[in-house]
Amino acid sequence: MSPLLEQFLSEARDFLQGIGEKLMQLEAAPADADLMNELFRLVHTLKGNSGLFDAPEMTRVLHAGEDLMDAVRNGRVAYSRPLADRLLDAMDFVGMLCDELESDGQLGAAHAGDSVRLVDALRHLLQPDDAPAEAPAPESTPESAPAPTASLAEPTPVADTASLPLASIPEAVRMQAYRRACAGEPLSWLAYRPHEQCFYQGDDPFFLARQTPELLWSRIEAREPWPPLAELDAYSCMLDFQLLTAAPRAALEEQYRYVMDQVQTTEVPRLALVMPQGDPNGGPVYDDFAADARRLLQTGDLEGLARNASTLLELSSPDLWIASALRWLQLVLETEPENKAILDALVDCLGSLAAPQWGTAGAAETHTASASTSIRQDPAPRNERGQEAEGVADASDEATPALSPLAADALAAVVAAQGEVLALTDEPRWLPGRLKAAAAALSGCLRATGATAKLQDLEAATAAALARNSGAPLLTWIAAVFPAELVGEPGAAAPVTAAPPSPAHSAPQPPEAEGEIKFGRRAEDAISGPKSLKVDQAKIDRLMNLIGEMVVAKNALPYLAGRAEAVFGVRELAREIKGHYGVINRIAEEMQGAIMQIRMMPVSFVFQRFPRLVRDISRKLGKEVELILEGEDTEADKTIIESLGDPLMHIVRNSLDHGIESPELRRAAGKPATGTLRLRAMQESDRVVIEISDDGKGIDPDIIKRKAYAKGLIDETLLEQISDQEAVNLVFAAGFSTTEVISDLSGRGVGMDVVRTAVEKVNGSVALTSQQGRGTQIRLSLPLSMAVTNVMIVVSDGQRFGVPMDRVVETVRVPRAAIRTIKHSLATVLRGRIVPLKSINDLLGLSAPPKANADDELAVLVVRLGDESLGLLVDDFSETLDIILKPMTGVLAGLPAYAGSALMGDGSVLMVLNVKEIL
């Protein structure tokens, strides 16, 4: 599989998981805007990723899901359970496609039908009649009805560009904009007022604004006068962004899609930009010029008019108002000489020194009937004052042809990279080649941006660099041709206003905007959460095995020390070896702990699937259930956590199916209609305990008894004698299933015995308590880790055996006289309780009799077996040890008496008993 696909699949699973979780959370808090945004983001990013692959079915479904979530978060469609259902269905479908991609590397053709059906289902929810909660728009004209996929504030049909502070845009920028508008590009005024708390949402308004496509001019100002420094809240955004752009609406919507509620756009008719400005002191133009101009205009001699205007312009100071008006006249003559109305108005204003009024006539003429505004009524003069007072400077891009943001980024990236290449100080033999390649890249930049005139300089710099065998001459050249502010930050090539020092700079948030700046993964794609490393489990297992071997090898040192002293008689050396052993021992133990820590996982790993499961099942059963998860961050070894999945699933299904009653029954029983299911994890010393409790109807011991009898699990005598608790425990017996009807959900021919088996497989135990009518509680207790087993070593018939410590209750020495024979079985009384005794030699088929010590006492290892205790007669006890237990393999795997073997420090093999099996 390609790394790309692999990456995609692993990421997609994370996303799907996240989407499922967020949907669940939304169910509890349907109005949470942050959740909705996050959900949208996840679906959106997943859709984007899927587009890299040939998976149209997946992309199609995700696209529909994205549109739907977009509508939901914008409030156009109300969040509802059916909506969540369909989205979940869609995500399940996507998950299935991911599985198929993983196994087959491609998608079969069979999914097209499903995807179309899902898309239809999702799109159907987008229909306005599916969202009756939505209030009708006040001016219920057909056009203003919210379109399903529309976004960004729709222009309202009120044309009022007069309120825009267009006059504060420098003339040169306005002229450039005018030209582009004449060429058919749409001009928009965009006012972006970020939320005050936007920095906490990961927004970077400054960056976002600077990345606006086709940006012609921009300005940032404070919303209100800055407070004294001591009172300034640097983390609250107090800025307004105003921009003039020639980008189409769709591009703006894309750019600002995450902050659409904070953005207002206004179409700017190009004539609104024709606004002569300057010093009026020069007075109006001479009458004869005005008269001439009118005459030339009437006769259609536009060339003559242009000539006159140009002459007069040369004679006038460029700062004068009339000079500005003349420049506009020239521009209009150049761009749209056929538009007499504009020319007339400009010539008129030359005489009157009054700005031309582009009323309805102008607007109609320029096809901007739909021009509109929904901008806040900010009086322009205040803006201008504010601008001057705060020293806001305007900057514009007049010199070079405007690059698209993508190209500007590419330019910045390439130039910056060459800077790094050239700044390297090593001198490998391939340095000349490296210099040449960098020069080639820079030459590409020049040619791509049309600056071919500078190619010669570049060649000279390259020659100098090659002659000196150093990148310095080329670095100097870069600094001169691509100044730092152009390439300091990729993306900075777009024209921007120099901003006043603003909180935006200090905010440590990652750039939120389009992400065009980051190579590779977009910043916005990063899933919030702890930084972690994905490691193949096989690598950890290998590490685990290695440390196991090291522990064994380490254990050989004391043995070696013993030999040094006893066999070779070098006590000094023996002591040193022992000393060193202490050090290695400590390190090995720490290392072992650290590696085990890597394998630790929170139980949330298994818990996280239950919200969805409980929701789906309870709805299928027509029950209302509230799931409460507690202690999700309790950790245990990966093996343990993974082994929990199936038993838990089974228990939860049982609870839902048999435990919690239908709402009617619950009400009749005086309980709240909604049942409660609680999953609780906690750590108790070296065990992790999971409790699953419900407040359902509990287990009726009589039913269990009858059932068990009917199935032949107990006989008549037992039926009479058995206690209620013992009866309840019968559910763990193999082949026991209480349901009359085998439902779709639980009772698939397997019962709680499967749970018990699975839990015991990882040295866990399960206990069940139930109160009829009140509910059932199941308690799973599992070891934190299986990697290291603590065993007690016992000796019998000269052989050493290991017994897992979690089975051992105590070690006692019992005088031979205290051992009685009861019905052919041995037993003794320990602290008032009768403890049956078994000789380990008998159990293992060893012929030797138990050996007593000098005081004629027998060693008894008391072990736990379920709820009972039992004594094992051994010859002697030895130390307890941490061992790495290796399961029996090959033909030995057929020996159930042994749980496994372990290698000891002296190279011998220790057999570890499976106590449950031998008794």
Binding site: W430, R434, A437, A441, G444, C445, L446, A448
Partner: protein, 123 residues
């Protein structure tokens, strides 16, 4: 027509990049490792190299060092890595890369950078 050599051992990645570049009317050739790439580069000139890092036989760094060590006209090279590691970036530049990108690279971004390196005016 500008010629680009894709050097990558993963067929899917080669295919992915080939499709992007061919739709933009570049002429594309492929090499599966550094050795093969070097042979091709010495036989026929290329205008740009798209180089993966981890490859059998000769990796991306090795290929670039050999290539830059030739006394020939040098074409720019883009090194494409799977993981973001600043060390890798420096290493790539030191070996002779002219740009360092991290997979997966968006087609439009890759194209913009390819065009910039090749000196093609942007559409």
């Amino acid at each position: 027509m500008k010629r680009i050599l894709i050097v990558d051992d993963a067929a899917t990645v080669r295919l992915y990049h080939r499709e992007i570049l061919e739709t933009a009317d570049f002429m594309v050739d492929e090499a599966m490792n550094g050795i093969e790439a070097l042979e091709k580069a010495l036989q026929t000139g290329f205008d740009l190299f798209l180089v993966d890092i981890n490859m059998p036989k000769l990796d991306g760094y090795g290929f670039l060092r050999e290539l830059r060590g030739q006394d020939l006209p040098q074409a720019p090279a883009i090194m494409i890595s799977t993981e973001a590691q600043t060390n890798d970036e420096r290493r790539a530049y030191a070996a002779g890369a002219n740009l360092y990108l991290i997979k997966p690279v968006k087609p439009e971004r890759l194209l913009a950078q390819v065009r910039m390196l090749l000196g093609e005016l942007h559409p």
